[in-house]
Amino acid sequence: MRDLWSFLLQTLNAGGVAVLLLAVKALFKDKLPPKWQFSAWGVLGIVLLIPAGWNGRFALVNWQYVVEFMKSAVGDFSYTRVLFPFPVVRSAPQTVAEWLFLVYTVGVLVHLLMYLLSYIRLRFVLRKGAPVSENVRESVNAIASGLQIKRCRVIQVEGLPSAFVSGVIRPVLAIPAQTDCDGKILLHELMHLRSKDTLWSICIALLRSLHWCNPLLVYCAKRAVNDMEARCDQCVLEQLEGEERREYGRILLSMVNERFARTPGTTCVNNGAKSIRNRIESIARFKKYPHGMRLVSVCILLLLGLSAVIGEPVTLPSQPKQAYARTSFASFMSVPCTTYAGAMDAYAKAVLTQNGYYRVLCAPQTMRAALGEEMQTNYENNVFSVWNSGLSHDPDEQGGYYIYNLHKTEEDVYEGLLVIKLLSSEVRYDGEYEIHTLAYQPLRTYKENGRWVTVATDDFQTVTTTEADISWGCEDLPVLVYGATQDHWTAEVITQNFYTVESAVQVQNNSFGFANGTYFDSTPRPNADFTKAGQMHRKRVYHNGTQEERDAVSVISLSVSAVYPGEEQPETLTEVTGSYVSGSNSHGASWSSHSADAGWGPMLELGGGGGSLEPETEPAFPAYYVARLGTDSEFKADLILTEQKGEDG
């Protein structure tokens, strides 16, 4: 917890689990044994130790939304994240929130100091203790061996109101010197020893100190201590019979008005008048729980623990058309993009729908304040959710999007081109083909504060194309060029890769239930991976010699194979014979030959190909291509085609 907001997130998340636990414990109050009642607090303990929002999930309620809403209301648009379950002050406070966080941190330290001082004071008192009589020691040893626990040091101390156990590593059982300590009380304290309750009391005190300003969690800490005592009462009562049980109740009753120790690392049979009253009520309805209850107790605890610890993923809110701007802003900001594909998908859909809330999903921290203001201004002008992405014309929302030339530039940074179609008003004819207008924009996606964000590194540019379908590449868009030259001959490969998160949804709109169409679902998928990927390539050969030299050649063949970073160069390339041959394989190899008519040149297209890529593999460009050039079925040259910067790409 590095600021007030992350503390709020952590304490609210734990508070939610505490409410659930209190409700469940109330339901099972007389149904499950006190052992279960105490163990259930372990779930809250684990939740308090795990940073809230771990893995983008929350226990039962999306508390991130609540915190982001409060933050955006005071003009702070940074994303709240809990890294540690304890406070860390990084710099001198400047804002009100930072001062409050400092006050909270000082409070934690004061509580810890108070506990430490009371523990030290208690140890001083224990130093004054004297050894107990032989009878008492034998009685304690007999009980201890009956419970199969190690013997501990027993001392008697003047002025103690009641017996207690202190210490974790070398525990001491302290009993009052002025009165005879009943065997049942000794049994109770040794039960604490067997259950390592001194350790649990330290854990409870530490967690209580961390959340000292949350009254609900402070109350839960008190309840946990009481449940610890009730569990020991149950264990004691199971060892006693009839009149002895009533006698045990009477002993507890006699302690109602006495002082009691509340020091971490100690356990005391007396835990306050009100708690003793509850314990006596429990004794009155004492019953031995059957052994078979263990199974259902463990199962219920397991389900509680899993729900609280693993939690629910934060889901995207419904379309915020007429919602209050800050509420919608906070609800979208509370959903982190957990994958780079999710962040690119959110950006693309924000552009396609011109929706500012979708943009918030993947916006870096530096942009959020401006976006928040823009959304609020739009809201006040009754223009809901509209965001200007910088497109010159309306996008074709149903046309979807593709990320072209996607590659990883460094750890947790990906770059690619967002490509979308512009609306059909831009479609025109050049006599034969339908001309479409495409818009593309370079994007960079990177990890910021645990969530993926996307930024545009340049403005949109438009290009016209006759390609109606851009799902298998488009040469009119930027491509990567690989080439090499030898003896007037230049071999060249142009290539593109393209990725998308498939968002087509089947629609059934007749009464027979037959699907009769699909539509593009423009709701962002912040946790998505790319589900469709492909690559396209084309091969070309240039000759910059004389026309006579070119005319002397009747067939040109080129066989290439892509070599990706870290891969080994293939030993052989496919031999091409014949004048009209072409083919490719799934390993990125491609070959073809073409007859060269008289007067050709200086360039000859040798066709190309493409295919699907595994969308889950890391996107990358080939490091280089190996190529074999041939003319008239004879070997001409072996070439290494390297990336040609600053041309088409």
Binding site: G292, V296, L303, S307, P313
Partner: protein, 202 residues
């Protein structure tokens, strides 16, 4: 009289389980209705608890959970019928009911095993079979819930494991119903009781 109450109570529990595990959905005017609703099963359990709590005192602990589960199942039945989506609050209530359901069936079958021990014919051991069903049912319900939580990490495997466990779970449930009907059969209603009732009817 005791046997009559026992016979009626066990019948209601067996049929209650039938309503819980069997669903028949019919579409009426665009609304899908389950004509064997689970809440009716819980109402049968509630009625059975009243008849059997004299035999097993701990059954009375199940009254409130049974009412809660009946109400929640009724609400769910209504929500499903009108296609209402659940929100966060309803999800929390649903989760609490999952826990309550786990305890309810565990305790109910434990008590039914107690009744079986007293009234089963010699050398049949219906009580042991009921306890085995209880354990299997509790474990299966827990595993199904755990698998649901781990669904995002299990991928396609999740579907296969879930189907297998669901089939095993349903097999246990139907076997349990069979045992309950056998237990009911083993309760001998004295002839005089039947005669007395006939006289009253007349």
């Amino acid at each position: 009289m005791i046997e009559r109450k026992l016979y009626g109570g066990i019948s209601k529990i067996a049929w209650g389980y039938f309503l819980l595990y069997c669903n028949i959905n019919i579409a009426i005017g665009g609304i899908t209705v389950n004509i064997l609703p689970s809440f009716a099963g819980f109402l049968l359990f509630l009625s059975a608890i009243g008849l059997l709590c004299a035999e097993e005192r701990e059954l009375s602990l199940l009254r409130i959970p049974c009412i809660v589960l009946a109400v929640w199942n009724g609400v769910q039945w209504g929500l499903d019928m009108f296609g209402v989506q659940t929100n966060e609050v309803l999800r929390i209530v649903d989760f609490i009911c999952v826990l309550l359901n786990l305890y309810f069936h565990f305790q109910l079958l434990t008590n039914m095993a107690g009744i079986a021990e007293k009234y089963q014919p010699e050398d049949v051991f219906l009580n042991r079979k009921l306890l085995q069903c209880r354990t299997a049912q509790t474990v299966a319900l827990t595993v199904i819930f755990v698998l649901t939580r781990f669904q995002p990490w299990l991928g396609e495997v999740w579907a296969y494991i879930s189907v297998l466990i669901l089939i095993a779970y349903l097999a246990v449930c139907f076997y349990m119903m069979h045992i309950l009907f056998r237990l009911r059969k083993s309760i001998q209603i004295p002839q005089t009781d039947e005669q007395g009732e006939n006289d009253e009817t007349v």
